[in-house]
């Protein structure tokens, strides 16, 4: 990536689509604390380059390594892009959000209870099908997501071609091809994060099309009840699915009335509740 001046002069409108210009709008804030306008979560399968993306955006040097399971806890950092401050949370790599291992719980709890404004799912372009399992689960929880199709350089070497536009149409969220190790695709990723963070509503996000027939009626009834009780809940169907699956964590959140808090939460109240979710994670 080219040099990144800290205070770039304001360029003409035409520049706004140029990589160099967009990269120049990035200020890496490292561990800077303070108020943030948006919270961005980084999720993804193990060893897809989440920490590399994290480091590239925050200027921090989380240790990266070519082996799965390297990030065992959450790492947090910040960056500022076009005068907005973003807090970036690097979640442990997981293959799914369904089972009850510690790292999956940390990731799931943060997505569900931390309510990030944007969730960037980093996927390995060379193993798209398996990575999509997690992407689809994330999309069930939140539509405010961006798919970062990382390791495109490797995919090219392996002779794999990924049609990112087709993928974006199918998933209903922005898809950004990238090679984070070489800084490629990061300006586009920043633009996509900004777009999703500031969008008032999400588009038509992919939801699981084939509801298992065995649970269709139960799922429908429970989802309807949840929607009626918590009209603002963005992921009623997913929560219904988890309840039917006997997820204790979701059940206790429901019984303690935490779901209502999630649905009602105004943006200004974010920091306090955010800290709560953090303690539980």
């Amino acid at each position: 990536m080219s040099a990144q001046p800290v205070n770039a002069p304001t360029p003409a409108e035409a520049c706004a689509t140029c990589d160099v210009y967009r990269a120049a709008q990035l200020r890496k804030l490292g561990l800077a604390a303070g108020a943030f306008d948006f919270v961005v979560a980084l999720a993804g399968n193990p060893n897809t380059g989440k920490s590399t993306v994290f480091n590239a955006l925050t200027g921090l040097r989380q240790h990266t390594g070519n082996w799965p399971g390297k990030t065992v806890a959450r790492a947090e950092g910040g960056f500022s892009y076009r005068d907005r401050r973003y807090k970036l949370v690097d979640l442990p790599g997981t293959y799914s959000l369904l089972s009850t291992s510690v790292d999956e719980e940390i990731a799931r709890d943060f997505l569900l209870f931390g309510r990030p404004d944007v969730t960037v799912v980093v996927a390995d372009a060379t193993r798209l099908e398996r990575n999509l399992n997690l992407v689809l689960q994330v999309l069930e929880i939140t539509g405010r997501a961006v798919l970062c199709l990382n390791l495109m350089d490797e995919a090219e070497r392996h002779g794999v071609k990924v049609d990112d536009r087709q993928l974006a149409r199918d998933l209903g969220v922005p898809v950004v091809p990238a090679s984070a190790r070489f800084g490629r695709g990061l300006p586009e990723l920043l633009a996509a994060i900004e777009q999703v963070a500031q969008a008032p509503v999400t588009g038509r996000v992919h939801r699981l099309s084939e509801e298992p027939p065995a649970i269709r009626s139960a799922l429908g009834e429970l989802t309807a009840r949840l929607r009626a009780a918590y009209p603002d809940l963005p992921n009623a169907r997913w929560i219904a699915m988890r309840l039917l699956g006997g997820d204790d964590r979701v059940a206790s959140a429901l019984r303690r009335g935490e779901l209502a808090g999630l649905a009602d939460r105004a943006r200004g109240a974010r920091e306090g509740l955010f800290a709560e979710a953090k303690e539980e994670a």
Binding site: N47, A229, R255
Partner: protein
């Protein structure tokens, strides 16, 4: 439907939540089959459909076959272990043979020139003798020693290790070791935390978080200390160079010392398995969990980037830690050598007191005292040993007086001092063993306490390796003396 948005006050929603929860329980009871399986099937079907629309493979998979061929070799039952041993021995050899010259240069600069210069400066500034001793003879020299002994080997070892890690070799090592860990009753992922332990045991203990089962995690924590951490590499490398390398002709010395260090590291892995086996059959009985380990593709490491980050993140980080601990320890060493009780210094009293135990273990009182002083950081063991040796042997003509860590800029000179202090090959061998098998440093013990939230497990983690260390060195000394 019962609750409207307006009625979502805390108490009321709790009630609505409870109602919905009860409904979910009733509905759950009516579902046939495993819901989890239904869900996963639906997920896979969707993922497969979407992927097939987006992914095409016009090119042939050249790299994939390269990866597969390499994997067949490095994870094969026959070649896996020899390749692993060969690679690690190569790294140690490069470290040992590459570190000599820069180490000598640094020692010459920091100790040979810097030390007299600072002394003159302090005398000119009119500092009292005790203050000069405490700061320059104690703190400065200890730090200078740590830097010149540790910086060159670490600056070679860590980048090499990180290159292997970046390339993607470590998961293959985990794969090779998995079967052994399973047989020992431990979790296969422990291979990863053990690997981290070779860098730093405190980091290795934190890395055990990737193990879900508490039983297997405790095993991984308790045995992590058997992974030789970088604070102990300089001790191993130096002692191997002096005592083991000296046993063979000069041009084989580097290779032979590297083999000895590899041997000690392997012995540590052996003790990891043995202790895990023992623990899983006594106080930590239970089932072995299964897990899946993904072998990532090999990636060409970015050489300069790796060099830079491993220097900053690992080398300088570890060096800084060593320096932070060397400063107060240097002062402590100087003070213990200069504070006299009943005509003899505190250090001499301690050494005489520890000598019987030390000699029974094939070590000596100096080494044991050094390990007491070096509890905060293994890195300062060697400088402390040298200083105390000179002190207790009442050598003249070496060093600058009591409590002064003196100028020694080559392994030959160090050997001269140690031999004069009564060291033999047995002392060298047992010091290498004891360096592998003793209590973890205080940082690691504290980390274990924080991770397990139990003083008892932390105490066991400290005492278990120490007990093993005493037993092994005593046994080696016994056999050695019987044979010679």
């Amino acid at each position: 439907m019962s609750a409207s948005p307006e009625s979502n006050a805390a108490g009321v929603t709790g009630g609505a939540g409870e109602d919905i929860f009860q409904l979910s329980r009733r509905l759950r009871a009516g579902i046939e089959g495993d819901l989890h399986e239904h869900l996963v099937e639906a997920l896979y079907a969707d993922a497969g459909r979407i992927a097939s629309r987006a992914v095409s493979r016009p090119g042939r998979e050249r790299r994939a076959t390269f990866d597969a061929t390499l994997d067949r070799i490095v994870t094969s039952r026959v070649w896996g272990f020899p390749v692993m041993l060969g690679l690690f021995a190569l790294i140690f050899w490069l470290t040992i043979s590459g570190a000599n010259v820069p180490s000598a240069l640094l020692a010459d600069l920091l100790v040979g020139r810097g030390y007299p210069w600072l002394q003159e400066l302090a005398v000119a500034a009119g500092l009292p003798a005790w203050l000069r001793g405490l700061t320059i003879d104690g703190m400065y020299l200890a730090t200078a020693w740590v830097v010149s002994v540790m910086l060159p080997p670490m600056a070679i070892f860590f980048p090499l290790f990180t290159l292997l890690e970046d390339f993607g070799y470590l998961p293959r090592v985990a794969f090779n070791l998995d079967r052994l860990f399973q047989r020992a009753g431990a979790h296969g992922r422990q291979a990863m935390s053990t690997m981290m332990g070779f860098g730093c045991n405190a980091a290795g203990v934190v890395a055990t978080r990737i193990i879900d089962s508490p039983r297997e995690r405790l095993i991984a924590i308790l045995t992590n200390n058997f992974a030789l951490c970088n604070g102990r590499w300089p001790t191993q490398i130096l002692i191997a160079t002096i005592f083991i390398g000296g046993l063979v002709p000069a041009h084989f010395a580097g290779l032979f010392s590297a083999a000895a260090v590899t041997g000690v590291a392997l012995l540590g892995v052996g003790f990891t398995f043995a202790t895990a086996w023992l623990l899983s059959r006594t106080i930590l009985k239970g089932q072995v969990s299964t897990f899946s380990l993904e072998l990532p593709p090999y990636r060409p490491p970015r050489f300069w980037r790796t060099l830079y980050t491993s220097l900053i993140d690992r080398t300088l980080f570890v060096l800084w830690r060593a320096v932070v601990f060397a400063l107060p320890s240097g002062a402590l060493i100087w003070a213990s050598a200069n504070l006299e009780v009943g005509g003899r210094s505190v250090a001499e009293h301690a050494i005489t007191g520890l000598d019987p135990l030390g000699l029974a273990l094939g070590l000596n009182g100096v080494i044991l005292l050094a390990y007491v002083i070096a509890i905060p950081a293994n890195e300062i063991v060697i400088p402390t040993v040298l200083m105390l040796t000179v002190l207790s042997a009442k050598m003249t003509g070496v060093g600058g007086g009591a409590g002064v860590i003196f100028e020694l800029d080559s392994p030959e000179e160090i050997k001269r001092v140690l031999t004069a202090g009564g060291w033999t090959v047995l002392t060298g061998v047992n010091l290498m063993l004891f360096s592998l098998l003793h209590n973890p440093c205080s940082t690691t013990i504290y980390t274990i306490y924080k991770e397990t939230r139990s003083a008892r497990w932390a105490a066991l983690a400290a005492l278990l390796p120490l007990a093993i260390g005493f037993a092994v060195t005593a046994l080696v000394a016994l056999v050695w003396r019987a044979l010679s």
